[in-house]
């Protein structure tokens, strides 16, 4: 419980305050001013969140394979703050001044063209908003996003504030019995459904898998869902490479899983989670400062 409080207290909730502040500043002075302000803002968040900082250090020690220095931690916080600033532009489709390199869009388009609904597994890695900007621009079908209820409320408030009512409507909040029925209906219509498949909450069924050198609990739900629905899955990452520079990757993950019996499905699910963790690990090695889970990811107790 304690861990849950602290976890949601800083960057996540703080980011809402930061967002409002930046929304105001950037609307007055533009992106450049917002970008410059990221330095003091990052320093402030770095100084005021010792527990999150410790968690980030634990992660970076593993991802960098050497003890993280303060500048490494700053770099990660700065990347996080940058993606939040950019959300203000990306959510309203103002991508003109951005350099966005996209890989794997053809594979995504092939799934869409085939009329097969497709699940997109993301992670708290980089920017989900840039993914959405790309997916929306290149996609004739709707993209809905599955979210935990608290985040869903925050996101909805955010989109409402920016006038993105369509985005607000495209959020499927978890925690309701019929959430997955909605996912199925979206997929049946050939649409895309995105979700973040890395973070396990206390309510999730967990699988412990090797991740950056130690066992970490990850949620089985997304993989079970894919197996149950027989839906193809693609991984989706929106990596922050630098100021207004992103790299978006869509990667085939599961073509169309068979709907095996329950026992087989559980074994297949465990294997699928392990494969996802492997892929995520490779991304963390390649882009270590894009990891935005500000709690002890490997802790088996005290889930958010």
């Amino acid at each position: 419980m304690q861990a849950r409080m602290s976890w949601s207290a800083a960057p996540e909730r703080g980011s809402t305050t930061m967002l409002r502040l930046m929304l105001w500043i950037t609307s007055m002075l533009g992106w450049q001013a917002g970008h410059l302000l990221l330095y003091p803002i990052t320093a402030y968040f770095l100084a005021s969140s010792p527990r999150q900082r410790a968690a980030v250090r634990t992660y970076l020690d593993r991802a960098l394979r050497q003890p993280a220095r303060l500048r490494d931690i700053f770099r990660l916080y700065f990347a996080f703050a940058s993606t939040i600033l950019d959300r203000l532009w990306l959510v309203t489709g103002r991508t003109r001044d951005y350099r966005i390199e996209v890989h794997g869009l053809d594979a995504l388009r092939a799934n869409i063209a085939a009329g097969r609904g497709c699940l997109l597994f993301g992670a708290h890695l980089g920017s989900f908003e840039v993914l959405r900007a790309v997916a929306d621009a290149g996609s004739p079908v709707a993209l809905s996003v599955l979210m935990h209820e608290a985040n869903a409320m925050r996101a909805k408030a955010f989109f409402d504030a920016l006038g993105g009512t369509e985005r607000a409507a495209a959020i499927i909040p978890l925690g309701r019995p019929d959430a997955m029925l909605r996912v199925r209906e979206c997929l049946d219509r050939g649409e895309l459904v995105g979700l973040l498949a890395d973070r396990a909450t206390r309510h999730d069924k967990l699988v412990h898998v090797p991740f950056l050198g130690a066992e970490a609990p990850m949620p089985a739900g997304p993989h079970l869902l894919a197996a149950l629905l027989g839906a193809p899955v693609m991984l989706a990452f929106g990596v922050w490479r630098g100021p207004r520079h992103y790299e978006v990757r869509f990667e085939p993950f599961v073509e169309a899983p068979g709907q095996e019996g329950r026992a087989e499905r559980e074994a297949a699910t465990a294997a699928s989670v392990a494969r996802y963790a492997q892929r995520l690990e490779a991304m963390c090695r390649a882009y270590p400062y894009n990891w935005f889970n500000f709690y002890d990811f490997w802790a088996t107790e005290q889930r958010p």
Binding site: D178, L181, R184, K205, L229
Partner: protein, 98 residues
């Protein structure tokens, strides 16, 4: 000492369809409980039986196969329908095609 007070029991007795549904829930979700032990009025999700939304999906697939009833997300009464074994069975009774 409370054994004589069985007058409170009848409303908790499961109807035949409720028992069928309880068996379907247990088999579809591989639960380790006796179907007859699922209290008809107890919550299925969260507390109570502790099912989650993925269980709900799995259950919806099984219900559609067994009873021909399609559960959909746009039904505003879903909270009510999914509330308990009793409410779910009542919904199935009303819409079943097989």
């Amino acid at each position: 000492m409370a054994s004589g007070h069985s007058t409170a029991l009848p409303p908790q007795d499961a109807l035949p369809l409720e028992l069928d549904l309880a068996r379907l829930i247990v088999s579809a979700l591989s639960l380790e409980v006796e179907p007859a032990s699922i209290a008809p009025e107890a919550p299925l999700f969260g507390e109570g039986l502790g099912l989650d939304s993925i269980d709900a999906l799995e259950l919806a697939l099984a219900i559609s196969k067994t009873f021909g009833v399609q559960l959909r997300s746009d039904d505003e009464r879903n909270h009510q329908i999914f509330a308990s074994l009793r409410s779910l069975a009542a919904h199935i009774e009303k819409h079943r095609t097989r």
